[in-house]
């Protein structure tokens, strides 16, 4: 049983409060929607949860059967997809996938890559450079990289940004699978997306 425990998380940028005492606890199978107006701290919260920023106060603990995971263990179980994330423009989609798979310590073969690209409706575009992709295709490939390690903790910032209806449907399926097997936290401004989650936190209110 995996768990994420967030206690009184606060973040300040100088005098400005970006987050004020956010607390929640999630277990395997839980999903959380983080909502709020622009600038309410949604991305800041996800960045702290992903280990990309340090909180000013408060704690974040990732646990596996009651044992707190260290940073490297969290890295191997966590994936994050967000607008600030960029893959390598000068590598093709397949080269990007192979590189990040190696860094994750995962061996992927041509069949896995083809199946993943096909699922994300990028079949036949694997040898195109990431820099030549449209914004929606880039978003889809970020999901392919995120799913490389079958993440226990999946953090999504604006999960359907830049995606067409077909892309939103695919992401909906990924979210549904994650809710069965792991923990999902998604920050969104789209009121239509609140429904995917059983729990909801409204920031900046």
């Amino acid at each position: 049983m995996h768990q994420i425990d967030v206690q009184k998380l606060s973040k300040r940028f100088g005098a400005r409060k970006a987050l004020e005492e956010v607390s929640f606890s999630l277990h395997t199978g839980d999903s959380l929607a983080v909502v709020g107006r622009n600038g309410s701290g949604k991305t800041t919260l996800l960045r702290i949860l992903a280990g990309l920023a340090a909180p000013s106060r408060g704690t974040v603990a990732y646990m596996d059967n009651g044992r707190t995971l260290d940073r490297a263990e969290v890295r191997h179980r966590l994936a994050y997809v967000g607008p600030e994330l960029t893959l390598y423009d000068s590598l093709t989609a397949v080269e990007n996938l192979r590189f990040f798979a190696t860094m994750r310590g995962i061996a992927i073969d041509d069949g896995w890559i083809e199946a993943m690209l096909s699922m994300l409706q990028l079949a036949g575009r694997g040898d195109d450079f990431y820099g030549a992709y449209s914004s929606g295709m880039k978003q889809r490939l970020k999901y392919a990289v995120a799913l490389l390690n079958d993440p226990v903790y999946l953090l999504l910032d604006e999960p359907t940004a830049n995606l067409d209806d077909e892309g939103k449907k695919i992401i909906g399926e990924i979210i549904a699978r994650q809710k069965q097997n792991g923990i999902l936290i998604a920050a969104t401004n789209e009121t239509g997306e609140y429904g995917f989650a059983e729990k909801l936190i409204r920031l900046g209110s």
Binding site: L52, T86, F99, T102, M103, I106, A107, W112, L148
Partner: protein
């Protein structure tokens, strides 16, 4: 979709970073153009200024390492600056352990320096009146100096990559750290260029300094890199 599980060790991950950087550099020429342009330009200026004048070996040695040092300053920081500027550092931090990132970048910087030296060194001897008395010592000093230079600048590049004035900060931080290396490298090169008997024995203190510097700098960098990269 379940992903196939396997395991890659430190060497495989480091080589993946190196391969990615070589492929990316080959396609974009991000660092190599800067480093080669600076190297060749500086060499040309030096050759016009001193090419026809017979100078002592220590002056030729110093000029040679000035060219290498400033060329390195113009390009070696790119290995991390590029990751920050193109915003790929975030996903690299999310997916990769720090140690293979450091080793991959270190080897890439060493290869970049080696390429610079392969071009600059023969041109330096052609365009100036300098005479090489001991090639074995010269190349030993050059290789050891390059390892130390790459080791130190790779960590400094990671430190300055998120700063707003990267170029100036890189040179300012690098100079005091690289000073012992430059002193040893210039001293060793001087003994390779001059007519010295038993040159390896004569340059033993410089060689010891260069080996020690490279070992200490790379060991310290491996230990410190995780904090520099993740904090």
């Amino acid at each position: 979709m379940a992903s196939p599980k396997s395991s890659y060790g430190l060497a495989a991950k480091s080589l993946a970073v190196l391969r990615k950087d070589i492929l990316s550099e080959y396609r974009t020429r991000y660092a190599i153009n800067a480093i080669l342009l600076f190297g060749v330009t500086t060499l040309t200026v030096v050759s016009f200024a001193v090419g026809q004048i017979g100078l002592p070996a220590d002056v030729y040695a110093a000029l040679f390492w000035i060219i290498i040092f400033f060329s390195a300053m113009s390009g070696l920081a790119q290995v991390f600056v590029k990751e920050e500027e193109s915003k790929t550092a975030i996903i690299l931090k999310l997916t990769a352990d720090p140690t293979p990132v450091y080793w991959g970048k270190l080897i890439f910087n060493f290869l970049l320096l080696t390429l610079l030296e392969v071009i600059i060194t023969p041109l330096y001897f052609v365009m100036t009146d300098v005479v090489l008395h001991n090639a074995a010592l010269f190349f030993t000093v050059l290789i050891l100096g390059s390892i130390g230079l790459a080791g130190a600048t790779t960590l400094i590049a990671a430190i300055i990559s998120r700063a707003s004035i990267k170029g100036a900060l890189f040179a300012v931080l690098s100079f005091p750290i690289l000073l012992p290396l430059l002193i040893g490298a210039i001293g060793g090169t001087k003994k390779a260029l001059g007519p010295v008997e038993a040159p390896f024995a004569a340059a033993s203190s410089e060689l010891q300094l260069l080996v020690s510097y490279a070992v200490v700098m790379i060991t310290a960098s491996v230990l410190l890199f995780e904090f520099v990269w993740e904090e």
